[in-house]
Symmetry: C2
C-alpha cells in the first residue's frame, strides 16, 4: 500500500476496524500497511477511539505486550438502545399487524436487514463479555438476527433444522413440546455443526412459553454443549411466569396484549435494560 | 454534536457512510452534524472517496443540486472478488465435504457471517446498477446470503416459505418441480410481503437445474412482479445446458464434479467474471 497522509490513514483504519469487529489486530499490521511508525499509529488509534466512544459505537481496546494489538468491540450506547427499542415497540404496535387468531405479522420488520443488524448489535452489546463459541438459532425467522449477532461478535452461526436434511450429513434429532400449542415437534442438528463443549448463545425472533428455545437447550445437552445466553427480539408477556420454561434471557420488546376486536396491540420494552 | 477537528470528522464521516450504503445523504446533514462549512465537508469527502477507491471498497457518488448529496455504493474490486472466489473454491473442494449420495456439506461455510457478508458484497457489486425493489429467497440456506445482499444494497428481503405459516397471514402458494429430483414441492408467499410490480433480485445458496428458482419466478408472476436478476453462491456444473431451466444468473462458484469414491471435489469459479 502506498504511503498515506494521516487524514487518509484515519479513513482507512476506521473502515479496517469497523469491518473486523472482535478481531485482535496487531499494531504492526497497521504499521506495515501504512509504512508508518507505531507511535503514529497509536496517535491515530487515540483519535478513532475518542470518536467511537463519543458516538456510542463501542470500545476500542488496546492490549499491550507482544501478543497485543487493538480490538474493536461494537456496543450500542444506552441512549442508542433506548431509541431503537422505542422505535421497535412503536412499529410492533401498528394495529394492521393483527392476524386471524391474534397472531402478529412481523415479517416486514424481520425482512429489513438494517433493522436486524441493529438488533444484532444490541445482543452483541448485552453479551459482549460472555464467553461464547457460536450463535444458534432454529429455522426460519430468527436466522437474520442470529447472523447479525454473529457478525458483530465475530462468531459462526449454527442452524437447527426442523427436518433432517440430506445435505447436513448425520444429525442428532430431538422431540420437543411447543409450550404455546402443547404440540410435539422435531428439531435436528448436524453432528458436524457443533463442537463438543461449545458455549452457545441462542437467538430467536419470538418466545412465548419458551418451548422451542428449551428444545435447543436440550439439543445442546446432546452435544455436551452449554447455553451461554439467550436473546429474543420479542417475548410474549401473555404467559404466566410459572408457565415459562425459561427465565434467563434478554428480550428487546414484550408483547403485552393483542386485542383483535379492538384492533389494539400493546408492546413495551423487553428486559434489555432491567437486566443491566 | 460538538465541533470536531478534521481528523475526528473524517473518522465519523467514514463510519456514517459505511453504515448507510446506497443511502443518499445531503451535504447539509454533515454540515449540521459537525457545524462545518459545506466546502470543508466537500474536501473531507474527496479524501474519503480517494481512500475508498484506492482500497477497492466501492464508489462515493456525489450528486449535485438541491436534491443532491453523497451516496456510498459498496463494490468489490475485480482483484478482491478474484481472491474471495478462489478462496471459496478452495474451501468447497475440501474432500471431507462429501456426504452419502454425493451431496456436499456446506453448512460450515454458510454459517460464517463474515463470508456470507462478503458474498453479499459481490452480488451487490454485480447488481449495483440494476433497478431492484427487494431481494427474494426461499427458506432456508439462502437466507444469510439474501440478507447480506439486502444490507449492501439497502433493500428489504422477502422470504418465501416451504409451508404456509399462520404468522404470515393470507398467502399465495404454488407447486413447483425440483429439477434435480423431479419431485413436486410447494412454496408460498404472504400476500403482504411483496408489492405488485416489484422488481426482484432472487438470491440462493445452490442451483442445480434451477427448479426452485424457477418456482420463485413463477411465484413472482402471481404478484405481477418481475425478476431483476438471479444470484447463486454455487451452481452445479453437472447439469446439461438443455436441462437447465434458467440461463440468466450470476454464480460465484461452479461445482464441476463430486467423485465420492476417489474423494475428490472439483470446483471452479462461477460465471461472475465472464458475465462482465
Amino acid at each position: 500500500m502506498k504511503k498515506l497522509k494521516r487524514s487518509a490513514r484515519l479513513v482507512d483504519m476506521t473502515q479496517y476496524l469497523l469491518s473486523r469487529p472482535h478481531h485482535l489486530i496487531p499494531l504492526t499490521t497497521f504499521a506495515q500497511r501504512y509504512g508508518a511508525a507505531k507511535s503514529s499509529i497509536s496517535e491515530d488509534l487515540a483519535i478513532i477511539k475518542e470518536v467511537f466512544e463519543d458516538q456510542g459505537m463501542g470500545e476500542l481496546l488496546t492490549l499491550a505486550g507482544a501478543a497485543g494489538g487493538v480490538k474493536y468491540i461494537p456496543k450500542v450506547s444506552r441512549e442508542g438502545a433506548l431509541i431503537f427499542i422505542n422505535q421497535l415497540c412503536e412499529k410492533l404496535s401498528q394495529p394492521d399487524r393483527i392476524l386471524p387468531g391474534g397472531y402478529l405479522y412481523m415479517s416486514d420488520l424481520l425482512g429489513q436487514p438494517g433493522l436486524m443488524n441493529e438488533a444484532g448489535k444490541l445482543f452483541a452489546t448485552a453479551f459482549a463479555d460472555a464467553k461464547i463459541d457460536c450463535i444458534m438459532t432454529v429455522e426460519t425467522k430468527g436466522i437474520p438476527l442470529a447472523y447479525a449477532t454473529g457478525a458483530e461478535l465475530n462468531l459462526p452461526v449454527v442452524l437447527v433444522r426442523r427436518d433432517h436434511q440430506v445435505t447436513e450429513g448425520s444429525a442428532v434429532s430431538i422431540n420437543y413440546v411447543s409450550g404455546s400449542q402443547k404440540s410435539l415437534h422435531t428439531m435436528s442438528l448436524s453432528r458436524r455443526a457443533l463442537k463438543e463443549r461449545s458455549r452457545v448463545l441462542i437467538v430467536d425472533d419470538f418466545m412465548k412459553a419458551g418451548g422451542t428455545i428449551q428444545g435447543m437447550v436440550d439439543l445442546l445437552a446432546e452435544f455436551d454443549a452449554t447455553v451461554a445466553g439467550v436473546g429474543v427480539l420479542v417475548e410474549s408477556g401473555e404467559v404466566e411466569s410459572e408457565q415459562r420454561l425459561l427465565h434467563d434471557y434478554v428480550s428487546l420488546a414484550t408483547l403485552r396484549a393483542v386485542d383483535a376486536k379492538g384492533k389494539e396491540i400493546s408492546v413495551e420494552p423487553g428486559n434489555y435494560f432491567s437486566r443491566k
